[in-house]
Amino acid sequence: INKTIIVHQLVFCAVPLPAAGGDHHPISKNPFEVKINRKKFDVLGRKSKHDVGLPGVSRSRAIQKRKDTLLKEFRLKDKNNTFIDRRFGEYDSKLTPEEKILQRFTLERQRTQDRKDMYNLNEEEELTHYGQSLAEMEKMTDVIDSDSDSEEKGLLSAELTATHFGGGGGLLRKKSAGDDEEEEHKPRSRQELIEELIIKSKQEKRERQTQKEEAQELTEKLDQEWKSIQNLLAHKTPKAERTDETDKPKLDQYDMMVRELGFEMKAQPSEKLKSAEELAREERQRLQTLEADRLKRMMGDAEEDAVQTNTHISADDMNDGFILDGDDRKTLAYKDGKWNIEGEEEEKEDEDGDEEGGEEEEEEDDEDDAEGEEDDEEGEDDDEDDADEDHCDLQSDEGSEDEDGQGAEEEQVCAEEPPAVSEEQKKAAQEAAKAELPYTFPAPESYSDLKQLLQGHGSEQQRLILDRTLKCNHPSLSAGNKAKLQKLFGFLLEYVGDLATQNPPDLRTVSALIPQICGLCQMFPEAACKAVQTLLSDSGHSMEETLEVKGRAPMPDLDMLVLLKITALLFPSSDFRHPVTTPAFLFLSQALTRCAVVSLEDVCKGLVLCCLALEYVSLSQRIFPELLNFLLGLLHLTVSDKHNMGYTVVSPFRRQGKSCDLLVLKDPNVSHSWNRKPISLQTAHRLPAQSPVERDHYRLSLIDSCLDLVKRCTWLYKDLPSYAHIFQPIRALLLKHLPDLHREILDAIPEKPSQHAPLVFKKKKPIPLKLFTPKIVLDYGKKRGNTKEEKERERLKHKYKREFKGALREIRKDTRFLAREKLSDVMSRDAERKRKVKELYGSLATQEGEWKALKRKNRK
């Protein structure tokens, strides 16, 4: 049995303890108590916490605490009775004894005051049922829902219950209550009352029935009306409203609608309309990136190789190309002080992705455009406008290779300008075309189809037809269109070739078709590349064959010249290596070295080839020896005196021969009547029969162009180390034979070669030794406890550990303390016992002594 003695009231004579603080102070000052940890070294910036301590004090404090707590517990161990002191403010040192006594007194008084409701149990406590207050429930505040008639049957009116279960008291009371009214009626018997009650309740029931029916009808009607206007409201009905009216059969519909709402496209914020400066800036940025890309390609593989050789090869690499785990992280490398970014290709792919996206968007745009126009002018022949619009679209297509729709739009803005120049002419042309051209064209399946389609029309009309064909067969419209258009590119090139070879060549039309060709090329670079490659290869092959059979080949025809020109327009000739332009270069080289020059037409073609060659290298400034050889040869043709030359002409020119003075003027005075104007390309095909003077004029034009090309070459190759050696033959020729012609060329070519530092190898970095790949922990540098929770966790763990250790130490100290106490207990007990035994022995001894003395007395 636990006996807890709670002291509430005992009033001791409180003896105030001496203040602890006053006691503590002198101890810390006591030098005998202070233990100083001697420091061997002074470490700057280290704060030592434990240099001074008071071990005696802290130990005695600990012992004291144990005595207060542990020892008490130990003493009370196995003793169930406890003594709890609940006297008010007994251990509160803040209260003065007077206050304490006052408080205790008031408490005492209060307790005696409340004595009267000593037996009123739990007055203030509330009774509950299922957590709800019973008192509240009894009030019946909640109104029963009219619809919920399920419980109606069980529900009885208050009157009924009162009559039925009130032990009839209700009835009686009613009677007494309704005395005033019922005084006039004769007093009714109990039987009557009961009957009345029954009738009343039935009536009530019926009323309720009709009420319910009415309500039903009303709701149905409401439903019907709702349905009729529901369509108008469409999606805008708020959820709450619609949940009411849903019934079981409608559930599916409802679900569907909910889902629809869930998936409904949210209006997205439209892109901000860009200002002119922004557009310009974007355009500039785009061009800059494209230019940077082009330059990178111009530098070519050499750079790539350099990068590749720098890759680290581990010493344990077996050179079998096996890589344990693909290390796809980019390595940080610097080149020329710039961060060398790898993974261009990834970017490129990204760009491609963008490109596709852009195209799609554009396609959508196009469709939208088309629709919009249909809406706008239905009566009008909208295809006409469509085609017009397309022209712009198409041009924008060309430019926006790596841009999204936004870029395309801005392109469109830019692209609209050039056609605007000749707006009126075009309008007129379109008016004329409207009369006869149909608006849709099937994609030509073969070359003859295309020819049929285009032949017999003017160049502007042909462009229009092609435009419409492209429009009608846009790849977005049908799956097969892509292949059709890809084939169309080949046919177009063929057609262009035909136009250039017919007599007279129709180069105007070729020029007019260029935007379409460009557009197609931008759409299908692979197909375009293949088509041009095939033509180049065929032509090169046939030239090679003629060379093998005859030893000399004729100059390529105008169609090849036009194709080479188009190649330069479509593909970048400045690339270090390019699948189309590199073969084109080789074709030019072949034509410039192996094709015989036997007529003025050949000279003209050769000059065209030279122009093209110069165009090809003008950006990359690459050296083209064949070009210079050919120009020298052309100049050689102008020299009448072929002796003592001081230079060598190489194939296809000869030092002497029958066609070696093609460009020698028949009449030296004809130059006075000559004036400079561009040479017609058609003359390359066939020179019309001319008078000798006209022929001389033609010669002069050719010579003039040739000299101009030489001049351009001298500008182009100015920075090459062997500049002077390259132009030495031309210089020799000009100096000897045409010293007064084009003084500037002679001035441009220095007489003495410029000075150059001797060649040395590139300084090479020493090749590092092969090293083992360090083991790299991927999450290196990741801080522990990055998140707040983790930090907290770590902190707690640490704390726990410390606490655990401390607790162990304390427990050990406790047990030691207890053992000591036990020992001292035992010792004291033993001492007591010894003392007692001693006492007993003493008393016994005295007793014995006394007895002996008595006995001795007796004996005596």
Partner: protein, 523 residues
């Protein structure tokens, strides 16, 4: 004459008729000696204007006379004049033989004339018929010779004379004739008759150039091949039973001598320049090995080497064999070789052969450094005008030379005077490689070519930027490279992306870097 007009009339009527006519005539001639005069009609057909008739008649003649040879119906010995035949007291049999022998020589004359006929078919059948006669005559000699080696040399000589026409290109017929040259005796006698013929014809023309004739001779000469072993000489047109071993024709040594003399005589006279090229192309392969003493060609070769240009390049090959295999000492060979180098070497047809040889000539590591440096520098200077196909040979070749001769490395690596600009000390015009100061120069030309438009050339030129690897580049595969092959290589390479020009064009002659449009217009 009457019969000829007769035949013409008949020929017009039907084609078969002249065949029948000739057939019956030949049959009659062969059947009995009474109808010997019918042979006139057959022979007359040889002069017909219709090729088919001539061919048919030729065949008939060869048939008739071969038969007569077989029968021994042709007179043997010195042929008396036909006019004397009437006066002479000879038997009818003898008269018949003499008559037939005369007809035979008539026939041979006509056939030889027909060798110069305009229709090839006629030529061919005439040639075949003549060769049949040669064979028949060899078997049944028409002269009573003392020696027993009977071969109709005169007939063959006249045939060769007609083959080597001075006016007409006979190359087709000569290639037909090649089949007879398989026979060792025919070949031998042809060789000797060609030799005599050249002497005679060239002497007559006072050693001037006769391109057609010389072309024919060359065609014939180049078809002649002496067998490599004596044991293979078992193939004769005319079988000799007597003392085969002592017969000149059966000896390989004699053949070689005849071959050698024939060629030497041909080469002794002045030749057109394209003939030089033709000869030099085949010289080292098909002429020199078959000669008994090739060193005799040295005069011809040094003459050709001095001509210059492509001919000099080609003569290198023969000279090389002479130097290499026959211990010939050629003074200033390298100097001459050095002077041969000019821009045209990259454009001639024999570029591959030339580079192959130069590679061999310069492969010796015992050559002095100044010489190699001079060659390297000269090649580098010339490379400024070379097409890419040549550059792809030339650049690895230059690198190889520097590898072989490490003392030439200063040409691409001169750290001592680096950073000090200087003039190019090399003298291009200097003919002597020792005087051209090539070793003091650097290969700035290769540096220039690092900007060449062709990526492979630029890459090859880049190699001089770094120390060269030990391993030499193999240039033998590059020697025959043509521009189109280079192009194809480029076209076949798989490429992932195709970059496009981002400046889009609107017109043909309008682009950002227009040159064509400046000088030319569309109209």
């Amino acid at each position: 004459m009457a019969s000829s007009t007769d035949s013409n009339v008949k020929g017009e009527n039907s084609q078969v008729s002249y065949k029948k006519y000739i057939n019956t005539k030949t049959d009659r001639v062969l059947q009995s000696k009474k109808h010997a005069n019918d042979i006139f009609d057959v022979i007359e057909y040889l002069q017909s204007e219709k090729d088919k008739e001539v061919i048919f008649a030729t065949n008939a003649c060869s048939k008739v006379f071969c038969q007569l040879f077989y029968r021994g119906d042709l007179y043997v010995g010195d042929l008396p004049e036909e006019e004397d035949l009437v006066n002479g007291d000879r038997s009818a049999e003898e008269k018949y033989r003499i008559f037939m022998r005369h007809r035979y020589s008539n026939c041979v004359e006509l056939l030889l004339e027909n060798i110069g006929h305009k229709a090839f078919q006629v030529k061919e059948t005439s040639l075949c018929a003549l060769m049949k006669f040669v064979a028949a005559e060899g078997k049944h000699p028409l002269q009573n010779l003392d020696e027993h080696y009977n071969f109709p040399r005169e007939l063959l000589q006249t045939l060769v004379e007609h083959l080597l026409s001075e006016k007409e290109d006979m190359s087709l017929l000569i290639s037909r004739f090649q089949e007879f040259l398989e026979m060792d005796d025919v070949r031998y006698y042809v060789m000797s008759s060609v030799r005599d013929n050249i002497y005679r014809v060239m002497g007559r023309n006072k050693k001037a150039v006769i391109p057609v004739y010389q072309n024919n001779v060359f065609t014939l000469l180049s078809t002649i091949n002496v067998p490599s072993e004596a044991s293979k000489m078992r193939h004769f047109l005319v079988r000799q039973d007597y003392k085969l071993e002592q017969w000149k024709v059966a000896k390989l040594k004699e053949h070689k001598r005849a071959f050698e003399q024939m060629w030497l005589v041909f080469l002794k006279f002045k030749l057109p320049s394209n003939m030089y090229k033709k000869i030099l192309v085949i010289l080292h392969e098909s002429i020199m090995p078959q000669m008994s003493d090739p060193t005799l060609l040295i005069d011809f070769l040094s003459a050709a080497y001095d001509i210059g240009g492509a001919i000099s390049l080609l003569s290198l090959n023969g000279l090389f064999i002479l130097i290499h295999k026959h211990n010939l000492d050629y003074p200033d060979f390298y100097k001459k070789l050095y002077s041969l180098l000019d821009p045209s070497i990259f454009h001639v047809k024999y570029r591959a052969r030339f580079f192959h040889l130069v590679n061999i000539f310069l492969s010796s590591t015992h050559l002095p450094a100044y010489l190699v440096a001079a060659f390297v520098k000269r090649f580098a200077r010339l490379s400024l005008t070379a097409p890419p196909t040549s550059l792809l040979i030339l650049l690895p070749f230059i690198c190889n030379l520097i590898r072989r001769h490490p003392s030439c490395r200063v040409l691409i690596h001169r750290p001592s005077t680096a950073e000090e600009p200087c003039d190019d000390p090399y003298v291009m015009e200097e003919e002597d490689p020792a005087q051209c100061h090539a070793l003091e120069s650097s290969l700035w030309e290769i540096k220039t070519l690092q900007k060449h438009y062709h990526p492979d050339v630029a890459k090859a030129a880049m190699k001089i930027n770094e120390p060269l690897t030990e391993q030499e580049d193999d240039i033998s595969e590059l020697l025959e490279l043509s521009t189109f092959e280079l192009m194809e290589r480029e076209l076949k390479a798989e490429r992932k992306t195709i970059p496009l020009e981002f400046d889009t064009a609107t017109e043909l002659l309008k682009s950002s870097r227009e040159v064509l449009g400046v000088h030319f217009s569309l109209e």
